[in-house]
């Protein structure tokens, strides 16, 4: 079914009887050309682009829970392309371009809102670093505008500019940055993949990966064995467990990152505001809730919930930056399982097993990457060559030392990101 404004009006006039389910609920077949393990944002977009760009439709997406039940449903919905290092820059630039055409492409309203992202700085040294980052973004073909203190005040008059510890010196404005409705992204990709013949199989946990003579031949699942010529692992925080089924150890630690939303308020924050020194970022959802998050709890975790010290820290940072939010009531908090890599950058690569591919290491920044991650992973799985926007995401870069992408400049070490 095509969605359109006319369709909405027609259904409104005829009792909303014409809407059907957005995707089928098929039983798994015994054989597919390709199997994608993981029905989250990245897995669904991989299946979508395999079908749309490469004409490969005999695919199953295997999801142990329900579609979009992991990090795609647990993030702070920020979309941006403000990366600094080669390898990352071109990839996130590619992703933002896909975002900009996504709704027309999917025929689905993902509520992508390019409301602009402002990263604040608080010292001369930090200003220099942001000038450099802004130039890198412009060189990549994206947009960046350096704002001085008064420039920031024009957009964000409600900040505490004279905070004693972190006075606001200015900000780097990224007008094409913004937010999107996170669940809708998963649903739009799921619907698009399903329409092209992809089987989306829920409540189907992969329990083993079959390998014969160094070549993948299929997977074992809680709903029976499935044979496949190629298998892609796209399971975020669970990457270590699934890769272990193929005898691999990964350079991944799973950590918890918390996020929060307040009760719905009238429009008050028009942009995405990022306060790096306080590890705090915030935007306002279209429902009115203030959506904000902070830093990792900084210990390994699969709990999908964090502890109170980080809650307190995030609230303090928010109050330091914008005291006006102090009376907003927090409605919910939650945590996601982050697949943290040593250098803070992801991997989209082949593995030592023929026909087995890996997409992981998205750290705390996977949401904005969903379109390009799927696009590039589909390209890799279909052609066995990396997409030109994702040549840097090598799994072996920690062994070779070539192409480490340490965006934060802290060193490629696990506990530093």
């Amino acid at each position: 079914m095509q969605y359109s404004g006319l369709r909405v009006i027609w259904e409104g006039l005829t009792g909303q009887k014409g809407w059907g389910p957005m995707w089928r609920d098929p039983a798994p077949k015994t054989t597919y050309d390709m199997v994608i393990i993981g029905g989250g944002g990245h897995g669904l977009s991989t299946a979508y682009y395999l079908a749309r760009e490469h004409g490969i439709t005999n695919i199953a997406v295997l999801e142990k829970g329900y579609l979009g039940g992991g990090n795609i449903g647990r993030n702070t919905t920020i979309v941006r392309a403000n990366y600094f290092l080669p390898g990352n820059s071109e990839f996130y630039s590619h992703s933002l371009k896909l975002w900009e055409g996504l709704e027309q492409d999917l025929n689905y309203n993902v509520m992508h809102s390019q409301r602009g992202l402002i990263n604040l700085f608080h010292s001369d040294g930090q200003r220099d670093a942001f000038v450099r980052r802004g130039n890198a973004m412009i060189n990549q073909g994206d947009d960046a505008i350096l704002l001085d203190r008064e420039g920031v005040r024009r957009y964000l008059p409600y900040l505490d500019f004279d905070n004693t510890r972190f006075p606001i010196y200015g900000g780097l404005y990224h007008p094409r940055g913004g937010t999107a409705r996170h669940d809708a992204v998963a649903w739009g990709y799921a619907r698009g993949a399903d329409q092209r013949g992809v089987d989306l199989i829920q409540n189907c946990e992969v329990t083993g990966i079959d390998i014969e003579n160094g070549r993948v031949t299929g997977v074992q699942t809680t709903r029976g064995a499935i044979r496949a010529k190629k298998v892609g692992i796209v399971v975020a925080g669970r990457s270590s467990q699934v890769a272990a089924m193929a005898g691999m150890r990964l350079p991944i630690e799973s950590h918890v990152l918390q996020a929060f939303v307040t009760e719905g308020l009238k429009p008050v924050i028009d942009h995405v505001v990022s306060f790096g020194m306080g590890h705090f970022y915030i935007s306002q959802s279209d429902k009115g809730g203030l959506v904000f998050g902070g830093d990792l709890d900084f210990y390994a975790s699969y709990a999908a919930r964090g502890n109170l010290p980080m809650v307190e820290h995030v609230m303090e940072a928010g109050m330091a930056l914008m005291p006006m939010i102090g009376k907003a009531k927090v409605l919910r908090s939650w945590g996601g399982i982050m697949d943290m890599s040593p250098d803070g950058s992801p991997m989209i690569d082949r593995t030592h097993v023929e026909g087995l591919y890996l997409n992981c290491g998205w750290n705390y920044g996977g949401f904005k990457a969903v379109p390009a991650s799927g696009h590039c992973f589909a390209h890799l799985m279909a052609t066995d060559r990396p997409h030109e926007a994702a040549t840097g995401f090598r799994l072996d870069r920690f062994a070779t030392g070539r192409g480490l992408m340490d965006e934060e400049g802290t060193g490629a070490q696990h506990n530093l990101h």
């Binding site: 669970r238 270590s240 150890r249 350079p251 900084f298 210990y299 390994a300 070490q413």
Partner: protein
């Protein structure tokens, strides 16, 4: 999370800095180990969902290193011992 410090009793986990898997005690010998062994030591992780032995540093306390046994799925802390004792039990001199 409260960490049962073997000397100081229960301490708030916020007083500690987390390093990672307790296997990091077994650093390869720099004179004999190859690049591959060091790569595995520095970067590769078991990353288990469940019981995990891990190194915590009591930075805001007595500056001791502990090996804490903790369930990564529930955050339940099952025990803590001095990393020094663990290392010596594995044959390290200090």
């Amino acid at each position: 999370m409260l960490i049962p410090h073997p000397i100081l009793g229960p301490r708030d986990a916020q007083e500690f800095v987390y390093l990672g898997d307790a296997a990091l005690i077994d650093r390869p010998d720099g004179m004999t180990a190859g690049v591959e062994e060091f790569h595995d030591y520095l970067y590769q992780r078991d990353n288990p969902a469940g019981v995990h032995r891990e190194l915590w540093y009591h930075e805001q306390g007595d500056r001791s290193w502990l090996v804490v046994t903790r369930d990564t799925v529930t955050h339940e802390i099952l025990g803590a011992e001095l990393a020094r004792d663990v290392a010596r039990a594995r044959g390290r001199s200090k």
